[in-house]
């Protein structure tokens, strides 16, 4: 696509610029050399417009001999020949225009302006052609850097999307192994409970896969998923795991990114309750005030626990997800104090989503 002929607006600006060049030529080559100003303007301004169109051919020369991939002498030869050709064409056009003006009686002297300025006109024509060439080369370089930037952004987006997909697909395999082990233990002693556990696990897995496919889901669905997860972990951990939940009726209808809560709940169990001999209580709240949904999760933890590598990664991924989606960089606050871990997530409520 030609950068200038392809757009009416750009063509108009470009032609206007060339009319100005025509005016400058009128002053430089006509008026200042003793010609009268009307003749000079009538002669040079239309010539400027004509050359504006002729120099568009420079675009193709620049495309065929790009600076980055051609040798210097190729560029030089091509530009010299193109400039000579274009300028010659222009000088010929100037000759024809001079005769037309003479015939119309505008130039009383009968083309004197043209006759006296012809060699200079040729040189100026070649220089102007090269100026346009430089302009196109700059344009190409600019476009290339813009393309590279766009490709870069696209790449980042793709990478993030892949990361998200992986995240959604990520169900801790040890959670499944441990659950199966619990089911295996229950089959002999309590078949009824074993079946309940099977169904809970199946529901949890199916919901995780289903929710992961959505862009946004109501908070209550996310809470229902957390309930299933915690019900399974309660079978495993028994009395050590207690849950307290307080949610606004307004908050549960808010739309949130899927699997927002899940990694937080998993962390609370895995790195919190399961690391305590006596266990403890996970407190969850969700409140909606104004246009902000605030979700908090609190759990006791062992301050002297051995911290495996990769802890905080889940929080970091969540932070990046929310930054991506909402643009606010400070949506996740986490702190640990006196054996209590607390994480707070704030997200803007989508318009019309809250009750």
């Amino acid at each position: 696509m030609h950068p200038i002929l392809g757009s009416v607006r750009r063509l108009a600006i470009y032609l206007l610029a060339w009319m100005l060049i025509g005016l400058l030529l009128s002053v430089g080559l006509g008026f200042s050399r003793g010609g009268d100003w009307l003749t000079a303007v009538l002669f040079f301004v239309p010539l400027g417009v004509v050359y504006a169109l002729i120099t568009q051919s420079a675009w193709y020369v620049c495309r065929i001999f790009p600076l980055v991939r051609s040798r210097a002498w190729q560029v030089a030869v091509a530009q010299v020949f193109a400039a000579i050709f274009a300028s010659a064409l222009w000088v010929a056009a100037a000759g024809a225009w001079a005769r037309v003006l003479a015939a119309a009686g505008v130039d009383a002297a009968g083309g004197t302006l043209y006759d006296t300025q012809r060699p200079l006109l040729f040189v100026v024509g070649a220089l102007l052609f090269w100026l346009v060439s430089v302009f196109f080369y700059l344009l190409i370089a600019f476009d290339a850097s813009k393309d590279a930037e766009r490709a870069n952004v696209e790449l980042t987006l793709l990478a993030r999307e892949a990361e998200l997909k992986a995240l959604r697909a990520q169900i801790d395999p040890h959670f499944i192994f441990n659950s199966l082990h619990s089911i295996s233990a229950l089959t002999a002693t309590n078949p009824e409970a074993a079946r309940r556990m099977c169904l809970l696990l199946a529901d949890f897995l199916r919901e995780t896969l289903r929710l992961g496919g959505n862009q946004q889901i109501p908070l209550e669905e996310e809470l229902a998923l957390a309930d299933r997860y915690l019900a399974i972990e309660q079978v495993r951990l028994g009395e050590r795991l207690n849950i307290v939940r307080e949610t606004d009726s307004g908050a549960v209808t808010c739309l949130v990114p899927p699997l927002l809560l899940q990694p937080l709940v998993e962390n609370a169990v895995k790195h919190g309750i399961a690391q305590l001999v006596e266990g403890g209580t996970i407190r969850m709240t969700a409140t909606c005030a104004g246009s902000t949904l605030t979700i908090t999760l609190e759990n006791p933890c062992d301050p002297d626990r051995q911290r495996p590598r990769g802890v905080g990664l889940g929080l970091e991924v969540l932070r990046r997800r929310l930054t991506n989606q909402y643009g606010a960089a400070d949506s996740v606050y986490a702190q640990e104090r006196d054996g209590q871990f607390r994480v707070e997530v704030r997200i803007p409520v989508a318009a019309g989503a809250s009750a």
């Binding site: 082990h181 619990s182 295996s184 028994g238 399961a274 690391q275 002297d304």
Partner: protein
């Protein structure tokens, strides 16, 4: 189940923080007339206590447990008892092998796999293979140095001492005395071993007999020519050797 008349009774302790996992082992082990479960423990502290008091023939030991994990328990009981590790995590298999575990059961497992592990345990017990406790300890530990905490077994009790709370460690023959404020604990390990395991940026061997937590150092005083003394924040004075002074200056 099997002809067990001629086999000696195997006295087993089951350690898992999950009641259901313990119940499953109880059920599966119930099929063996020559196996007796002498204790069930829900955490590492109970496990160390039970092992000390009851001297079992075999330990079925979960790895992921609060406060003291399976490897901690093994470190504390040394090589006294053969161990079969039980876990849902496969990434500890190599480490389990390094600490001479009899076997490594991955949850969920069935009766056949357990029978195999028990067979190995009987073989191990039959050969009376002795695993030197100290080798066990350092091998188990080497993988996760620097130590963030020191575990001390005081007969049936276990003390977990975070490295940051230690003032200094003093060598006492085959033992190390760990000073924590007013208290001191004895650990059966050499000072050199602990020096290698603790974070070298925080613990400096200022003297043949002393390993100092540099955070406790208040100032250094010149005693007599060529002899210096470390004054700790609580006023304790510890001698500094010449090489100890060089090391201390590198850190500070």
């Amino acid at each position: 189940m099997m002809s067990s008349e001629d086999r000696p009774l195997l006295r087993v302790i089951v350690v898992d923080d999950e009641a259901l996992a313990r119940a499953l082992l109880r059920e599966l082990l119930g099929a063996y007339q020559d196996i007796e479960i002498i204790a069930e423990c829900g955490n590492g502290f109970e496990a160390v206590k039970a092992v000390t008091e009851k001297k079992p023939d075999l330990l079925l030991l979960d790895i992921q447990m609060p406060k003291l994990d399976g490897f901690d328990v093994l470190e504390l009981i040394g090589g006294e008892v053969p161990v079969i590790f039980v876990t849902a995590y496969d990434q500890y298999a190599i480490k389990a092998f390094q600490v001479h575990a009899v076997d490594y059961l991955l949850k969920p497992f069935g009766a056949e796999r357990l029978a195999e592990a028990l067979g190995r345990a009987r073989t191990r017990i039959g050969t009376r293979e002795v695993v030197p406790a100290k080798a066990l300890v350092s091998e188990a530990r080497a993988a996760r140095a620097p130590l963030e905490r020191i575990l001390i077994r005081d007969r049936t009790d276990v003390h977990v001492i975070p490295a940051a709370k230690i003032d200094y460690l003093e060598s006492q023959d085959d033992y190390v005395s760990v000073k924590v404020g007013e208290k001191q604990f004895l650990k059966e390990q050499t000072l050199s071993e602990l020096e290698q395991l603790l974070d070298p940026a925080r613990f400096v061997r200022i003297h043949r007999r002393y390993l100092l937590n540099v955070a406790r150092l208040a100032r250094i005083e010149q005693a007599v020519t060529d002899s210096r003394v470390a004054i700790l924040q609580d006023g304790t004075e510890l001698p500094i050797s010449r090489s100890g002074y060089t090391k201390l200056r590198e850190i500070l």
